[in-house]
């Protein structure tokens, strides 16, 4: 095994203290499902792991006033079993059902999924259509960052090395949904994913919508052109999606020569996932477990 040192943080204060003292030497570890893989791959060497797994203050799902509060250490399994998330953030709930496999979900955390900043992180498009705030803390203080402009590149976020993600907050929104296309179900990194927030009027016309996509560019992206093209269309009118099919192509920039899917394939699949996510979101509940 590669070399690394280890310190255990028993409280939030201890954790940010370690991060301030260690500087770029620090590497935060919680569920370890990404961290240990990166170490084994040699992507990170001779780091000091700062273990935050035991900090209970960073765990849990609850209402704080009018907002949903999700601790950074909350596991994907906990999110996928939460009635509160199911009712208030169906997109996030649906993402948790198709995330890796049940054993990985027992360890993997939502904070880790954010910091990994993979283009295909399953919880990220849902958090983006919820317009979640990411709360971070350091020895310098606390701040909140809007998730929609937190990603600066593959594996990179605006969270500074001495900052620790503590929790997420977002307004409840039952009209959201998530769709994932993978090469197979198990452990498959997404070929592409789509999260949607969509509300409709009495005639079934889209009155408001937000779309976020995964694995279609170097970071998860908001699809603003697709959002504009969807406004006013009737959700159950198949032909009405045509404008979005074209518009969404400008929102995405799939990587050429990807091992998982060609550019052409992703460009064909993305609008279909968007359409399905919008329809499901407009319904306003998760329905049965769904796979595209």
């Amino acid at each position: 095994m590669k070399n690394f040192a280890f310190v255990n943080a028993r409280s939030l204060e201890e954790a940010v203290g370690h991060l301030a003292a260690l500087g770029p030497q620090a590497y935060v570890v919680a569920g370890a499902t990404n961290v240990m893989v990166d170490i084994r791959d040699g992507k990170r060497n001779d780091k000091t792991l700062v273990n935050i797994r035991g900090i209970d203050a960073l765990r849990g799902i609850r209402m704080e006033g009018a907002l949903v509060w999700v601790g950074a250490l909350t596991t994907i399994a906990e999110i996928g079993a939460s009635e509160l998330i199911k009712g208030h953030a169906p997109a996030l709930y649906m993402a948790a059902q198709v995330f890796a496999d049940p054993t990985t979900r027992n360890s993997a955390t939502i904070g880790g999924n954010l910091i990994k900043a993979s283009a295909g992180g399953d919880t990220l498009p849902p958090l983006m259509v919820m317009e979640a705030d990411v709360h971070v803390k350091s020895a310098r203080g606390e701040r909140a960052l809007p998730i929609c402009d937190i990603f600066t590149g593959l594996g990179k976020t605006r969270v500074e090395p001495d900052e620790l993600v503590t929790h997420f907050t977002f307004a409840p929104q039952p009209h959201t949904a998530f769709m994932k296309m993978g090469q197979r179900k198990s452990m498959a990194i997404s070929v592409c994913t789509a999260a949607a927030y969509a509300t409709v009027d009495g005639e079934g016309r889209v009155t408001d919508c937000r779309i976020a996509l995964g694995a279609v560019a170097s970071t998860p992206v908001r699809a603003s052109a697709a959002e504009k093209a969807l406004l006013g269309i009737k959700v159950d009118d198949e032909g009405a999606y045509e404008a979005m099919y074209g518009a969404v192509q400008g929102d995405i920039n799939p990587r050429p020569h990807s091992v998982r899917a060609s550019v052409e394939y992703r460009r064909q699949i993305v609008p279909v996932l968007v359409k399905r996510a919008v329809r499901r979101a407009a319904l306003g509940d998760c329905g049965p477990r769904v796979q595209p």
Partner: protein
């Protein structure tokens, strides 16, 4: 690198161990405690062969630094049977021939045990979905899924009487 003293409860026994920061839980289980039932497969949590129980929940021991498991209560495949008597899951795996080469079997049995603790009354789709992170390369999935459903039936019958 750093050195640490950790306490584990493994299959009901308390263990105090001195470990290096970069020792993995699977290495401690296999090489220090000689519990070689837990298999080292891919090393990156894709195959499920190294699955053990942490309390009632499954975890892949190849990704856990041993020092991060300080204080954990761990059950490996060796710790499931009590006094030589197989659990319903183990018994069903044997009776239905849900074992071919056997390499994936400890992980399959441990994950199936976690599955039935979480949901004592699963249907076929639930079992297939739950075991999706445990790979069997002898293509033995049909018998494995049947074995889990068989065990669930037996356990329900036992609970009813």
């Amino acid at each position: 690198m750093s050195k640490h003293t950790i306490n584990l409860t493994v299959n009901g026994k308390r263990r105090t161990l001195d470990v290096q920061s970069n020792e993995l839980l699977i290495d401690v289980l296999r090489d220090r405690l000689y519990l070689t039932g837990t298999k080292y497969g891919c090393g990156i949590a894709e195959c499920g062969a190294c699955t053990v129980l942490h309390g009632d929940r499954s975890v892949m021991s190849c990704l856990v630094p041993a020092v991060a498991a300080d204080g954990w209560e761990i059950t490996t495949s060796e710790g499931l049977a009590k006094d030589g008597e197989l659990t319903p899951v183990q018994e069903s795996f044997v009776n239905l021939g849900a074992i071919q080469c056997g390499f994936c079997t400890p992980g399959m049995v441990v994950t199936s045990t976690a599955l039935l603790r979480e949901n004592p009354d699963p249907d076929e789709a639930y079992v297939k979905d739950y075991l999706r992170g445990n790979f069997c390369r002898c293509t033995g999935y049909v018998a494995i899924v049947q074995a889990v459903l068989d065990a669930a039936g037996k356990m329900k019958g036992a609970a009813a009487t």
